[in-house]
Structure formats: C-alpha cells, structure tokens
C-alpha cells in the first residue's frame, strides 16, 4: 500500500476509535452524585460486612476534605463528582459455570475485544476475570487455580469469602487518604480483582483481567489487590478498552501489590481507553494509583504500554521495604492528537541492598503532551541501594511536547543513583537508511519506533506483546510527515 504525502497521517490520526461501540444491557444504576447514602447503597448492594462499610465511609470523609491535585503537567476540565453515577451493575447475575452461559450480548462484546473463547483456547493458559461495568461476570480457570490454592476472584467475592485476607491487606499499600483519587476509589469502588498466591506456589498461567467502561456517565472504580505469599510467583495482565462516549469518563482505579518474602509479582498493563476525538472530546480520564510493596528478597516488576485516554495520571510505584528487594518499571507511553500523559514511577528504597530499574520511553505525536515524572528516593536505611533510570522521549511532530521531571533524593552515602534522559526526533539518517534499502517511510518509522520501544515490549508476556505492537502501530504509524 503506498501513501501520498499526508494521506497516511490523516488516515491514522483521523482514525476513529476501533472499539467504540456500546453494549445494550439493562443496568442497575445508582442516581448520580456521591454522599453517605450512595456509599451505603453500594455497600448493601454488594452485601458487604459492616467493617467494609465503615472503611468506605472513613475514606469518603477523608476524601471530602481533600482537594483535587493540580501539580501534574496536564490540563483538563475537572470532572463534576456529583454528576457521576457511582454504581452500575449488569442486572443479570447468577452463578455461571462456563462461558457458554454468559449473556450472548456480553459474549459478543468479548469477541470484539479480542478475548473470545476461541482466542482463549488459542492462548491457552490465560484465565480471564472479565469485569464489565464493575461487576465480575465470568471467571474461568478458577478450578484449576483452586487446586493450587490460588485465589483469583472478583473483589466483592473476596470480601465475602476471604474477609481476613482483604481486611489485612486492603489499604495497606495505598492508604485511604493517600491521594484524592485513591480516597475516592476507597469510598466508592464497586469491584475489581483479587488474587492470592499461597506460599511457594508458582502460578502456572498468566492471570488476566479486562476492564471496560460500558454504561454512559458511569465512572469506573476498580480495586485490585494482588498478594504473593512467601516464595511465590505470579504474572498478572491488565488490559483496557472503552467504548466511545461524548462526555468525559473518569477512571480512578487503585492497584495494590504485596510481595512477601522472596515472592515475585510481574504486573503488565496495556491501556487503550478511548482517547477522545480530534479535540480530545469525550476521552477517558485515567487517574490511577498503583503501588506495590516488596518484602525481603522479593521483586515487583511493572510493565505498561499506555496508548489511550485523553488524560493519564499514573505512577506505578514500588516500596522496597525488605532487604535485597527489587523494583522495576518499564513503560512505553504514546500520545497522539491532543492526549496528555503525566506518568512515571516512584521507587522508594528503604531496605538494604535494594535495586531498582526504570526504563521509560515516551512518544509524542499530533498535538499531544507526554511527561515523565518519577521519584527515586534513597532513605537513610537503604545501604548499598542502586538505581538506574533512563527516560527517553521521541517527538514525532513540532506541535507535540515531551517533558521530564525526575526527582532524585539521596539520603545515604552508599547509594548509587543514575539518571539519564534524552529527547530527540526520529533520526532522518535512520529513515534515509531504510528508504535506501527499499523500506518505505511508513514501515521505516514503524521499525524505528518498535526498535525504540523494544526494551519495554520485550518485558511483556507473549499474549500482550502482540496486542501492544498492534496498538503502537495504530497509534503511531505515519505520524511523521
């Protein structure tokens, strides 16, 4: 396929969101607005125990006293929190034993999302906890996991069935009052995923959750809690697509990871929420708090491919509390049109001999702005801590922006902290080299961008790597004239 001049650019940048459709299912929806009654309603709808309600109300009171943060390098119209409906659940909800029993309408949605049963068969070994408008509809592979003692269920089920675990760990990594959006989430979260890997168990498959905002005007507030007990291992995938909407949708999730002694958690995200139209109208606001705590000799690795959302505000972090623990952050953030992303990580070194690695690759196209904001904090107790950070930015157009705001705080004399960042555009010589060898410009750019992001894409599990490459291609190819 040959493209002339800006044709491809227009085709790509003008491309409507592929997954922009809605599913017609009757939903049980709370009236818009937030107050104590709504929280009580959510809690009672989910048949939660008293302590959970207390916890939510406490979070709500804390949230009331907080103000929305403005320090990020993003500009947007603040959402009206009283105009959002905080609870929407598909009405049909009964015990399901297999995917065949799922509402055909929902099945079609899943097919279009590319997580059909057929695909699941193809990518054997992926258990999918499918969240549609906050309520988990179907969970597969549950039995197989149960044999190993692995608990993988929706958050609401976990509250019912494993209250002791939930009670112990919820809010232990991201406290209720951590920040504005985390507090909001703590008060009104409707569902999410819960995962517990028992001592010494290596989870045999990639655990995966797909999120999707469905009902118009409903915000989605998931809460994910992953606990890897001593010596266990789990790889967790999270992917998002959202249908096209005209009003801004808010997504304020909280993800908490707990890696106990010698455990390892690998958390991968492909994020492709609806970015809005050419003017950013209708895009999703993605204000997410993700944080993990590492105990002795444990490891948490965050990998993210961010291509969607009108506004992204997200800093997956690691608290390296235990000695010899390791934190990793690999990120590719692509912004196009008028998308804005302010993303990065925090590595808090507390334990001795803790190591962290940060690789962040930003790509800005169209009129978008892409910022890396990160903190590397070496506490006084963190002897021999080591950090390496690399933040590269690639600019595709002269109307986009790439920014870097790294914070480096060192309070220990044995720490080694390195940070480097570069910003440049795609090398004309590289494109020329490809052209010379008969590779057209579009393919050359794709090649260079994929090579540029490879360090991060390599860290993704197989299943996601394919999707991520597809997303990169959609988001970027031909964005340079």
């Amino acid at each position: 396929m040959a493209y002339e001049g800006d044709e491809l650019l227009e085709e790509v940048t003008g491309k409507e969101y592929e997954f922009g459709w809605t599913t017609d299912i009757e939903t049980d929806k709370a009236p818009p607005g937030i107050n104590e009654d709504i929280i009580r309603l959510i809690s009672s709808k989910k048949n939660e125990p008293e302590w959970m309600l207390e916890w939510r109300l406490d979070a709500y009171h804390k949230w009331e006293a907080m103000v929305e943060p403005e320090w990020a390098h993003i500009q947007y119209e603040k959402p009206d929190f009283q105009a959002i409906s905080y609870y929407a659940a598909p009405k049909q909800k009964k015990q399901l034993n297999s995917l065949d029993e799922v509402d055909p309408e929902l099945r079609r949605t899943m097919d279009r999302l590319g997580i059909s049963t057929e695909e699941q068969k193809r990518l054997q070994g992926v258990a999918v906890d499918f969240v549609m408008d906050s309520v988990s509809v179907a969970t597969s592979f549950k039995e197989k996991l149960a044999e190993l003692g692995i608990i993988f269920c929706s958050m609401s089920d976990a509250i019912q069935e494993h209250p002791e675990l939930v009670k112990k760990y919820i809010g232990s990594v991201v406290p209720k009052s951590d920040n504005f959006y985390a507090a909001l989430n703590s008060a009104v979260f409707t569902d999410g995923s819960f995962c517990y890997i028992p001592k010494g168990v290596r989870c045999p498959m990639e655990l995966s959750t797909y999120f999707r905002i469905n009902e118009a005007g409903t915000g989605q507030f998931e809460r994910t809690l992953v606990i890897a007990d001593e010596g266990s291992y789990v790889s967790y995938l999270e992917g998002c697509t959202a249908p096209q909407r005209d009003e801004n949708q808010l997504h304020a999730a909280v993800v908490e990871l707990v890696a106990l002694d010698e455990a390892e958690i690998k958390y991968s995200t492909v994020q492709n929420w609806y970015p809005g139209d050419e003017n950013g109208k209708g895009g999703v606001f993605n204000f997410v708090t993700k944080r993990g705590i590492c105990h002795r000799k444990s490891k948490i690795s965050w990998t993210q491919v961010e291509t969607g959302s009108a506004v992204t505000w997200k800093y997956p972090s690691c608290i390296l509390k235990g000695d010899h623990s390791i934190g990793e952050f690999y990120s590719v953030a692509v912004t196009n049109k008028v998308q804005q992303a302010d993303t990065g990580t925090k590595m808090i070194h507390i334990g001795k001999n803790t190591h962290s690695t940060i690789i962040s690759k930003g790509i800005s196209a169209g009129k978008s702005h892409n910022s890396y904001r990160g903190l590397v904090q070496i506490n006084k107790t963190a002897d021999n801590a080591r950090n390496f950070s690399q933040c590269d930015s690639l600019l595709m157009t002269d109307t986009s922006g790439a920014h870097t705001f790294p914070y480096i705080e060192v309070n220990n004399s044995s720490a080694k902290v390195e940070h480097e960042a570069t910003t440049s555009k795609i090398g004309e010589d590289q494109i020329f080299y490809c052209l010379q060898r008969g590779i057209d410009e579009e393919k050359a750019i794709s090649l260079i961008v994929n090579g540029y992001a490879k360090e991060v894409l390599n860290k993704l599990p197989m299943e996601f790597a394919v999707e991520a490459q597809k997303l990169l291609a959609i988001s970027l190819e031909g964005s340079v004239g």
Binding site: W71, H73, K380, S393, L395, M396, T397, D398, T399, S400, G401, A402, H403, T404, F405, P406, Y407, I408, E409, V410, N411, N412, S413, S414, A415, K416, V417, E418, H419, E420, A421, T422, T423, S424, K425
Partner: protein, 423 residues
C-alpha cells in the same frame, strides 16, 4: 484564619526593618506598587511550594534582621585580583574601597544614579509572582549599573564584593548589566562575610547581552565561621549570536539559594553554566537554573557538580525549556554528586520541557561515592588514604573551577577549596 494571621504578622515583622530602604524603587513608582502588591498577596513560599520543596524560607522570615550601617574595618576580598572594584559592606556602597572603571565606552555607576538603567530595571525579573524577588525589588538598597558600549571590551573585570560583618544584618542589592553589540565584559560577584557575621543577603542581577556580545559572570559564595543566608538571582537575556557564561562556586554558606534564569532570545547563542557546591555541617545549598530557549539554533551546556557531607543538604534543580519555535536546539545538562555521609541529603531534579521536535536535548544525573578502585590505585602508589580522597575531590570539582577565566579567581577558589578539605 488564625494561622493566616500569625503568618501575616511574621511576614510584616520580618519586613518592617526594611521599610526605610527603597532607594532604587522610588524612581519607579509603578514597580514599587507591583512589588508591594506581590508582597501582600503572595504567601511566603513553604516546602509545599514546588520551587521550594527542599529549602525552607522560614529560616529567613522567622529571623529578625536589620539594615545596619557600613563599618569601616577591613574587608575580605581576593586581594591579588587585578580588577575594578565595587564594594558593598552590609549592603551599602563603600566609595572609599571601590575603584570603578574609568574607560572610554564604559559607564559604571550606582544604579540609583543611572536613570537609563533604572528604566530598564525589572524588565526581566519576576517581582510579580516570586515573593523573594518582590522583596528584593521593593527594598533594594543600592546596586551597580554597568553599561559597556558597542564593540568595547571592558579592560579589567568588574569585581563586586558583597561583604557583611555584622550580626543580624540584611543586605539587599540589585545590579543591572548592559553589554552592547559586539562588546565584552567580565563580572565577578563575591559574597563573603566575616567570622562573626550572621547575615541575609539578597541580590538580583539583571543582564542584557546584545548581539554578538559576550558576558562572563563568576559568582563566589562563602562564609567564614558565621552564618550566611544568601538568596542570589540572575536574570539574563541573550540577543542573537551572543555568548553568556556563568560559574557559580558555593564554597560555604549556611543557607544558599541560587536562581539562574536565562532567556535565550536570539538565534545562534551559546550559553554555558557551571556550578559547584560542597556543603558540610548543617549547610544548605540550593541551585535552581532555568534555560529558556525561545528561538532556533542555540546551544546550551550545563554542568553542576557537588560533594555533600556531614548533615548538609544540596539541591539541584535544572530546567531546560525549549519553546515551540526553538528548533535545532542543542541542550545538555549534567549533575554529578558525591554523598559522603549517611546524614547528608542530595536532591537532584534535572528537568526537560520540550515543545519543539527537531532538537537534541539530554540530561544526566548521578549520585554516588568515591571510586574505591581509584582510592586503592592511589594508595598502592604510596599516597595516604586522606590525601588520596582529597585528590579525588579536587579532580572531581576541578572541571568546574577550571572553567573560571580569571587566574586570580580560579587560584583563590582552588586554595579555599583545599583549605576546606584540610579542615
């Protein structure tokens, strides 16, 4: 409300002693009212203010300072420096000790007497939204106005000394430098105090570097055994083909905050920023720099190196801003630190904000220790451990000090550095 009142009272109490000094701003009533407005409207920055995240302004505001008279005693200065001198003792110009340039094509006079310069005052500085700059604007006691005419080279550097020798003394000065087309000038600014002084020095320098002109500024900051609180701000605007170099050497200081703001407003400019700091005991040194690339085809280069020990704190916040039109910008920024004690703090924040695509911008920041292998190498050759470490410190910092153009100043800095290492 009560808290706000207490803060306002503190602010008022802090400013009262300065009321009488407004020699500069009296000539510009509109600036006076702007600064007054800013001082009332803006809250004193706290560690919740992003630009002051690691540095407490409260240490200054909560102390009672006075404007005190100049004293007649000897001053500390770089004696063997062959330069014109402008000496300020406790913020007051001392004519007897000064020796201003008397060269054709060069005008150097007190800012309060330079009507042209007074008209230009405040063109660059941010007295509307920055509380400490508003403070300087409103209460500046005196300053120098240096103007070098087109195609003239200032034959000797202008050496400005800010000396304090009294307790609780505040010295508020501001200077204005104009380097016309094709002209050259070198200015050395030395902040120094005597053994007993406890002083707060606030100084703003506004510089205008015209087409194809060159300006060099060396800034040396030190205190003896007393305590110095130094707030030093430089604003520079560069026109086409100009060159601007600034070296900041903070030898010591209880509380030092340097703000460098450079507006690269003409094409084909070159800008070099070097800095070094070596705080120890409970000293606090904060370097904020901002290079704002407004136009294409410019180059900026920034290297800051520091050694932090004891309970000292060092802050580096460098920002490179590349505007939409500033294509083909080459900007480089590096910050390297050595932390020698577990009670020391190093906060580094190298920032890039880039709105143009055809640019090459990079920054790096490292924090670490001595290379033990290098220490071992030296010891294996019969050099004692202490000497080996001293040698390595010198080697580490030397890159910055070597950039100083004037021999006497460079020599002075190296000697002072060595003395400090011996202590």
């Amino acid at each position: 409300m009560e808290v706000a009142n207490v803060i306002d009272e503190k602010k008022a109490k802090f400013m009262t002693p300065f009321e009488g000094s407004s020699a500069l701003v009296d000539a510009r009533p509109e600036l006076k009212s702007e600064a007054d407005l800013a001082l009332t409207e803006i809250a004193v920055p706290t560690t919740r203010t992003e630009a002051w995240k690691y540095t407490r302004v409260g240490k200054i505001v909560n102390h009672d300072w006075n404007i005190s008279p100049s004293t007649a005693g000897d001053i500390k200065e770089i004696t063997n420096l062959d330069a014109y001198r402008a000496i300020f003792v406790n913020g007051i110009y001392d004519a007897t000790k000064s020796n201003l340039p008397n060269q054709a094509g060069v005008t150097c006079q007190l800012l309060s007497e330079a009507s042209d310069a007074l008209q230009q005052m405040g063109e660059l500085s941010d007295h509307n939204s920055d509380w400490l700059e508003a403070l300087n604007m409103r209460y500046a006691q005196e300053g120098m106005a240096l103007s070098v005419e087109a195609n003239t080279t200032l034959d000797k550097p202008l050496y400005i000394v800010h000396y304090t020798d009294n307790t609780n003394v505040a010295a508020i000065n501001r200077h204005l430098i104009q380097v016309a087309r094709g002209a050259n000038a070198e200015v050395i600014v030395h902040y120094v105090s005597n053994q007993t002084a406890k002083s707060f020095q606030s100084c703003v320098i506004e510089s205008f570097v015209a087409e194809n002109a060159e300006l060099q500024i060396d800034k040396i900051q030190e205190e003896m055994t007393g305590e110095s609180y130094i707030h030093a701000t430089e604003w520079t605007k560069q026109a086409r083909d100009s060159r601007f170099n600034i070296r900041t050497v903070t030898l010591s200081g209880q509380w030092v905050r340097n703000n460098l703001n450079i507006r690269v407003a003409g094409e084909n400019c070159e800008t070099h920023l070097f800095g070094t700091y070596m705080p120890r005991a409970k000293e606090h040194v904060d370097n904020h720099t901002m290079v704002d690339h407004l136009v294409p085809h410019c180059e900026s280069n920034e290297v800051y190196k520091g050694i932090v020990t004891d309970k000292a704190t060092a802050v580096f916040n460098g920002k490179v801003y590349v505007r939409l039109d500033a294509q083909k910008t080459n900007a480089f920024q590096q910050n390297a630190n050595i932390v020698l004690s577990d009670d020391a703090h190093m906060y580094s924040k190298p920032e890039l904000e880039i709105y143009a695509d055809d640019v090459k911008c990079s920054h790096g920041s490292t924090t670490g220790q001595f290379d033990e292998e290098a220490v071992y190498y030296l010891r294996a050759r019969g050099i004692g451990e202490a000497s080996a470490r001293k040698l390595l410190v010198q080697a580490f910092i030397k890159e910055i000090v070597e950039a100083i153009g004037d021999d006497a100043v460079r020599e002075y800095c190296l000697n002072r550095l060595e003395e400090r290492l011996d202590q």
